[in-house]
């Protein structure tokens, strides 16, 4: 197969032993992007000058033999294009932000750079992170490396596909209702959404502020844990970021699941769950049982209402968050003689169909006469959903379930928006309750990957990763390489 290190851990080992230089890793990364990405479309832009400089600096440090090397020194990374990087075009996958170059860097991105990572570029995504298939990008859909006629999932489809296709070992995505976990599942990689408040949202172009969270994609849970650890922690620029200390996820990562009580939420195995996905998940539960975990069926009775709650709250917040795209300070403008016409035409031309739909939905839910029935009601149901989790976490240490009810579907399969929304059913409750959730590969269904979701209590991010790691190490699903793109590459 391919020569050289692929995972973050392998890269770090090779860099530090001198087997490879950061410049060589960067060259290899670029070669793979050049070879594969014309078909995958996972990158929206490359940050070549920045990457060259960072690789050079990393190599200088590595050669110096310094003891205190930053954790990701010399490792190529990429971030979803909703994360701001000073001076680099940041579009959020939208036409309305074409050409936007922020004069600031997102805190999470800044921490990656401070950790010595080599920023290769910005990855493709659904416009403003709204979507479950990556078909909503204004810059063309991302294709699934396992089958180029299928979607990679969304909204962080580019970040997931880039890791799956071994273009970069570590990427960052964002997860508002499943946008890290679902594409991770559909692309056969690890994706981790941390506890809400664990990673700063400063510089993350907002979709739904009370739900958005930044997290990593990687080829292993250990890599994801390392990436998470680099970006996690309090940020005074984000008033919702938690000041509590971050538990080192690598410390207890190998402690296994022996003696842990794992809950299996009955409602996550309902109708709509693909039989193949169900079977793969059940086999995964058996593996966890064989590793010493106690499995117990639990109930999260408000699950039914979670999707509706999410599709009121997220669009409502989005309708407000996206009001700043008015063609005055940045982004696209369609000039018309009157201000009102300029607003109307700018926003009509700048936003895609899904973004408009959600702005409309959110505006409706907040508008006079509907607020109580939709927005306020959803906020109350959100309380019930969080209480459901709190109740079961009194009895179990973590929850395990499928990540997505289906595997990667063909492009264009869900032209009806509601049918696409329904696919988020297993991931949105986690965001509504602000919990950490990780998706780890747990099998192939008709040649397509599927993921196991591990959910832990708030700020027990390390525990979610520990459970996922135990499962991962007992199986080899995460080592499988996507055939779709690989077959035609090299």
């Amino acid at each position: 197969m391919s020569a050289g290190p692929e995972t973050v851990a392998e890269c770090i080992g090779a860099l530090r032993s001198g087997a490879v230089t950061s410049a060589e890793l960067l060259d290899r990364t670029r070669a793979r992007i050049a070879a594969l990405d014309p078909r995958v479309n996972s990158f929206l832009g490359l940050t070549d000058a920045l990457a060259d400089e960072a690789a050079e600096e990393a190599d200088r440090r590595l050669r110096s033999g310094a003891e205190d090397l930053p954790p990701l020194c010399g490792v190529p990374v990429a971030v979803k294009d909703v994360l701001c990087l000073e001076g680099a075009e940041t579009t959020a996958g939208s036409r309305i932000l074409a050409g936007f170059r922020p004069p600031y860097t997102a805190t999470a991105v800044g921490r990656l750079l401070d950790a010595g990572a080599v920023m290769v570029g910005k990855t493709n995504c659904d416009e403003f992170a709204m979507g479950s298939s990556n078909e909503n990008s204004a810059y063309g859909p991302v294709r699934n490396p396992w089958d180029l006629e299928r979607v990679p999932g969304g909204s962080s489809g580019g970040s997931a596909a880039a890791v799956a296709a071994r273009m970069v070992p570590l990427t960052m995505g964002t997860d508002t209702g499943g946008s890290i976990r679902q594409p991770a599942a559909l692309c056969g990689v690890v994706g981790f959404k941390p506890t809400y408040g664990r990673v700063s949202r400063y510089g993350l172009i907002a979709f739904a502020s009370s739900l958005d969270q930044v997290g990593p994609f990687a080829l292993s849970v250990e890599d994801a844990a390392l990436g998470y650890h680099v970006i996690a922690g309090h940020d005074p620029l984000d008033g919702t970021s938690s000041p509590t200390a971050v538990e080192d996820p690598l410390q207890g990562l190998r402690e296994g699941v022996d003696g842990l009580r794992l809950g299996v939420p009955r409602e996550y195995f309902g109708e709509g769950l693909d039989p193949g996905v169900r079977a793969a998940t059940e086999r995964a539960l058996e593996v966890l049982g064989s590793l010493g975990a106690t499995l117990e069926e639990v109930s999260l009775p408000s699950t039914d209402a979670a999707l509706s709650t999410y599709y009121v709250i997220a669009p409502a917040e989005a309708s407000s968050n996206l009001a700043r795209y008015d063609g005055i300070r940045f982004g696209l403008r369609e000039d018309h003689p009157s201000l009102l016409q300029t607003y109307l035409h700018t926003r009509d031309a700048g936003f895609g169909a899904e973004v408009k739909r959600r702005i409309m939905l959110g505006t409706y839910a907040l508008s006079s006469g509907y607020y109580d029935a939709y927005y306020r009601k959803a906020q109350k149901v959100r309380t019930l959903i969080a209480e459901d989790f709190a109740r079961v976490f009194e009895r179990v240490d973590a929850l395990v379930s499928p990540t997505s009810p289906v595997t990667a579907f063909p492009l264009g399969a869900h032209s009806d928006p509601l049918s696409m929304y329904l696919l988020d059913v297993l991931t949105v409750p986690v965001n509504l309750a602000g919990l950490p959730g990780v998706s780890v590969p747990c099998g192939l269904v008709d040649g397509l990957p599927t993921g196991l979701q591990v959910i832990a209590p708030r700020f027990m991010d390390a525990r979610a990763l520990r459970v996922a790691h135990a499962y991962e190490q007992a199986t080899d699903w995460h080592t499988l390489r996507p055939g779709g793109v690989e077959a035609r590459a090299s």
Binding site: P103, S210, T240, A323, R329, A353
Partner: protein, 97 residues
Amino acid sequence: MPLTDDEVAHVAMLARLGLTEEERARLAVELGAIIDHVSALERVDTSAVAETAHIGGMVNVWREDVERPPIDRAAALANAPDQDGSCFRVGAIQEER
């Protein structure tokens, strides 16, 4: 149940989305279906339930009153579609705030 064209037009105006007639017609149907779906919330008993606007229960997150230098004007204006070197420029404003 589809929204009426008036409802769609009203919401679009609130959101400053200039929609074509075609878009409005399509959205009337799509939004109607989604709203019907989320109306399932009505059936959840929330009579004694508090609203959750923020998860995690943090309160009193504030900063001290310390000044930081503003950014350069050139940087502030750099992304503007229209500016005159000192201000952002917009077309004629017919409406009051």
